[in-house]
């Protein structure tokens, strides 16, 4: 049994965890919930030996756990699957899985065949075969597959404690289901599981108990059977949230974004239109080509054929800069790799795409910049001690919000959001949805790529479904149900055509 007692941790005087005591029993799934920056990842990192707490103890099976050493934590049987998967880009999935576990080969010799075979066997045992090829290279993996590699790596042997930090934030339903089955198996075999997620539905499916952190302190523990979603939300945010989704405004007739037969290496023949004030959802499974399409429209991936029009004017897309000048904005899927300057402040990050407008004779007007960023950061509830704080030190969800602030500041005509609420807590999700709605009301054409079906359904006026780089169907808000979207997303599989 895992016993945390009185854990506290501050970063530069700002408390991230305050006197937290929780137990987690073998054969139990304990969900850890809380807003962005509540301290969930910090807690797991203490377990992993990555952070040393300022005070407090951790006991595993009545033995005190030495703190601050990843190796010792691992040896004691603790495995953490972190929020940002670590992948070695240049080696295969098999090597990524067994890195640090050389016991698979004979002696020191590296036997690739055997390693690959072992990886096949391992993935099959975990029920992840079919989702991940051991031969694939690290750099070719989608975010979802990286997450699966991280999971497979942690489970090379059976741990005593398994902690998962937002494992499903980049997974689609199929992979998530495989993960849930796996977690249940582990639980039944006596593993103590700590599960961090912002997704209410899966928490209620999976967890036996829910612990809620707010501002670093434990504010409640409930047995899942004896509580309800709204109670957990109230514990998390300290108030009631009613109505996550608001879509009030009817779209204009004026078409802002037009794609004509857009074709790249991975998507083909995509034609669609987004009108002013309209929110169009792009649904599909991982690998359907939605992010690729988003990047193509943004000038990051070259078009093989077709064209993109904004306000009826064809635009020449040689680089993202052309797209931005034409009034398009993109908040990319992978915030750390593709959007953030981790070493720089929230202010620097947020104003990066509007520097030209904030400058006079190339001099950045600092006052105007500060006012703009501060206003938007407050509106999206970015939790940071000040906008001068380095983005690296923010929690995952707040980093995501910083990226959104960048594009809100730019006020584009077309805003493409690729998984805008990945890793964002319920309260902030509601803010982001409201912001998207408000943007639409201001006449922005919004294209949202999301793997969370309830989100696509709740947010979009129209849903375009893709599979294998093609559009397989389109549903209006009235017609769309989870079943119908899924049916289109898996059209090939269902008809057995291919």
């Amino acid at each position: 049994m895992l016993r945390l007692r009185g854990l506290s941790k501050s970063f530069a005087g700002l408390p991230a965890l305050r006197d937290v005591s929780i137990d987690c029993n073998p054969g139990e799934v304990l969900a850890l919930m809380g807003e962005n920056g509540a301290g969930k990842s910090t807690l797991l990192k203490i377990l992993a030996g990555e952070h040393v707490p300022d005070s407090g103890t951790v006991e595993l099976d009545n033995e005190p756990l030495p703190l601050g050493s990843p190796t010792k934590a691992r040896r004691a049987g603790i495995r953490i699957i972190s929020q940002e998967p670590e992948i070695i880009r240049d080696v295969s999935v098999a090597e990524n899985i067994f890195v640090g576990n050389v016991s698979t080969g004979g002696g020191r010799r590296f036997d690739r065949k055997r390693l690959t075979a072992a990886a096949h066997e391992h993935l099959r045992r975990l029920g992840l075969d079919g989702l991940l090829q051991p031969e694939a290279r690290g750099q070719d993996l989608s975010p979802a597959q990286r997450q699966l590699v991280e999971i497979a790596r942690a489970l090379v042997d059976t741990p005593k404690v398994l902690a998962l930090d937002e494992p499903t934030s980049s997974l689609t339903d199929r992979e998530a289901d495989a993960l849930f089955t796996l977690v249940r198996q582990l639980r039944d075999s006596g593993v103590a599981v700590i599960y961090v997620s912002h997704r209410m539905a899966e928490i209620f499916q999976l967890a036996d108990r829910i612990a809620v952190l707010r501002d670093g302190a434990l504010v409640g523990e409930r047995s899942t059977a004896a509580t309800a979603e709204h109670e957990v939300v109230r514990l998390m945010v300290g108030r009631d949230l009613s109505g996550m989704f608001v879509r009030e405004h009817a779209a204009d007739e004026r078409v802002v974004l037009t794609l004509e037969d857009v074709t790249t290496d991975d998507v083909s023949g995509i034609s669609l239109q987004v009108r002013a004030g309209e929110v169009v959802g792009l649904a599909g499974l991982v690998g359907a080509g939605r992010s690729e399409l988003a990047r193509a429209v943004f000038g990051d991936v070259p078009l093989r054929a077709g064209r993109v029009l904004v306000d009826g004017q064809p635009i020449e897309l040689r680089s993202p800069r052309d797209a931005i000048n034409a009034g398009i904005g993109l908040a990319p899927e992978e915030r750390k790799a593709d959007a953030l300057l981790l070493e720089r402040s929230v202010r620097d990050n947020a104003s990066l795409a509007v520097l030209d407008r904030l400058s006079r004779f190339r001099f950045v007007r600092r006052g105007a910049e500060r006012e703009l960023v501060e206003g938007l950061a407050t509106r999206l509830r970015v939790r940071t001690p000040s906008i001068e704080h380095e983005v690296r030190k923010l929690s995952g969800g707040n980093q995501q919000k910083t990226v959104l602030v960048r594009w809100l500041a730019r006020k584009p005509k077309v805003l493409i959001l690729d998984e805008p609420t990945r890793g964002v807590d319920v309260g902030a999700k509601a803010e982001i949805y409201a912001t998207i709605d408000a943007l639409a009301a201001e006449g922005v054409a919004v294209l949202v790529v999301s793997s969370e079906l309830p989100e696509v359904l709740g947010l979009s006026d129209r849903i375009v479904v893709m599979q294998n780089g093609r559009i397989t169907g389109e549903l209006t808000r009235g017609e769309a149900t989870e079943e119908r979207v899924l049916a289109l997303a898996m059209a090939d599989h269902l008809t057995g055509a291919s």
């Binding site: 300290g238 800069r321 070493e343 104003s351 795409a353 190339r362 000040s386 906008i387 001068e388 960048r406």
Partner: protein
């Protein structure tokens, strides 16, 4: 200190989920002098000056201070340029060679054209051209900056030797303009120092207050993110190398003026390493995204004072090199420890 921490805590708790920039903590954070690289350099400088000054009071003489200033001026100009290239995540090892090449160009054009201004302009133009070639090789040849400028270091040096036949060229020591640059002064401060100071201030303003500077830092911090935010990477990178080349042209002019003739190699060899040393000591991160002109300038002063002080104290120059090396390692180790990076594997 406890008071502040309490303030911060209260502040944090009072407004969950909001940006609390108006809070006491934030106000304090803005007022507080950060104990950063520059502070440690200042402390080191103070210690050094005290030690040297106690043993050799003539150190503080205005003639000696002028000597320090004029010695660091040429290398200083290059270090300022180097800082900019390092901030975008690059490196320019060829700056010393460009200085030599532009020095020869300057003197030879001066001799054949018979006037100082064609000489000065040709030096800047040659520097710019060298920088442009560097930038083009790096961006369009997809060559790692270290390798690319290592290659042009050799090539530019070769060109300088070829056109000069390996000897000092021309004699500018009689021209009033060059005399003014080498030995003149404005308001009691030598022209060499003025040139260095103006270049440093211009670079500082560029980096700190303009959108160009922000974009340069962004490129060094995360080039992919910068591109997706609309920064034209290629143009910025090439421009940064052009700027470095042109600034090295200034260094070439200063060198020509100071020595009285065009020096293909002897006056500028080793300056590339000196400039990198100063930038690193001043807090530039080699992977890019971090570094400031004030930091580099402080580091230059520190290096200059160290060299000068040891000279005055009669320490032999071999020991001076050892001292410089030790200083650099100590400074960078302190910097890394302060950044709180865990001591595992290769440093970032």
């Amino acid at each position: 200190m406890t008071q502040t921490q309490n303030d911060q805590r209260l502040d944090h708790a009072a407004e969950p989920g909001a940006v609390s920039t108006n809070g006491a903590a934030a106000r304090f954070a803005r007022l507080r002098v950060p104990f950063n690289q520059n502070t440690s350099l200042l402390i080191a400088l103070a210690v050094l000056v005290t030690i040297i000054g106690v043993q050799a009071p003539e150190f503080f003489g205005s003639a000696n201070l002028r000597t320090i200033g004029t010695t660091i001026a040429i290398a200083g100009v290059l270090a300022v340029a180097q800082t900019i290239v390092i901030i975008i995540g690059g490196l320019d090892i060829s700056v010393g060679s460009i200085t030599g090449l532009t020095s020869v160009t300057c003197a030879m054009v001066f001799t054949s054209a018979g006037g100082p201004f064609p000489g000065l302009l040709s030096a800047l133009a040659a520097g710019l051209a060298c920088g442009l070639v560097n930038g083009l090789i790096i961006v369009y040849g997809r060559v790692n900056p270290v390798i690319a400028t290592l290659a042009t270091l050799a090539a530019y040096k070769g060109i300088a030797q070829l056109i000069s036949d390996g000897r000092a060229q021309g004699y500018v020591g009689a021209d009033p303009i060059f005399i003014f640059i080498a030995r003149g002064s404005i308001a009691g401060i030598p022209t060499l120092i003025w040139v260095f100071a103006l270049i440093a201030v211009a670079a500082h303003v560029l980096l700190k207050y303009t959108d160009i500077g922000r974009n340069l830092y962004a490129i060094g911090g995360n080039d992919k993110a910068a591109r997706l935010a609309g920064v034209n990477l290629n143009r910025y990178i090439i421009a940064a190398y052009c700027l470095t080349g042109a600034v090295a042209g200034f260094a070439g002019i200063l060198l020509t003026a100071k020595t009285g003739s065009g020096q293909p190699v002897s006056g500028s060899e080793g300056l590339e390493l000196y400039s990198i040393t100063a930038a690193a000591l001043g807090g530039c991160a080699m992977q890019g995204g971090r570094g400031t002109i004030p930091g580099t300038v402080l580091a230059l002063v520190l290096l200059g004072v160290l060299e000068n002080g040891l000279n005055i104290l009669g320490v032999n120059s071999f020991w001076q090199n050892v001292a410089k090396g030790t200083l650099l390692v100590a400074a960078v180790v302190i910097q890394q420890r302060r950044s709180g990076e865990r001591r595992i594997g290769l440093p970032r």
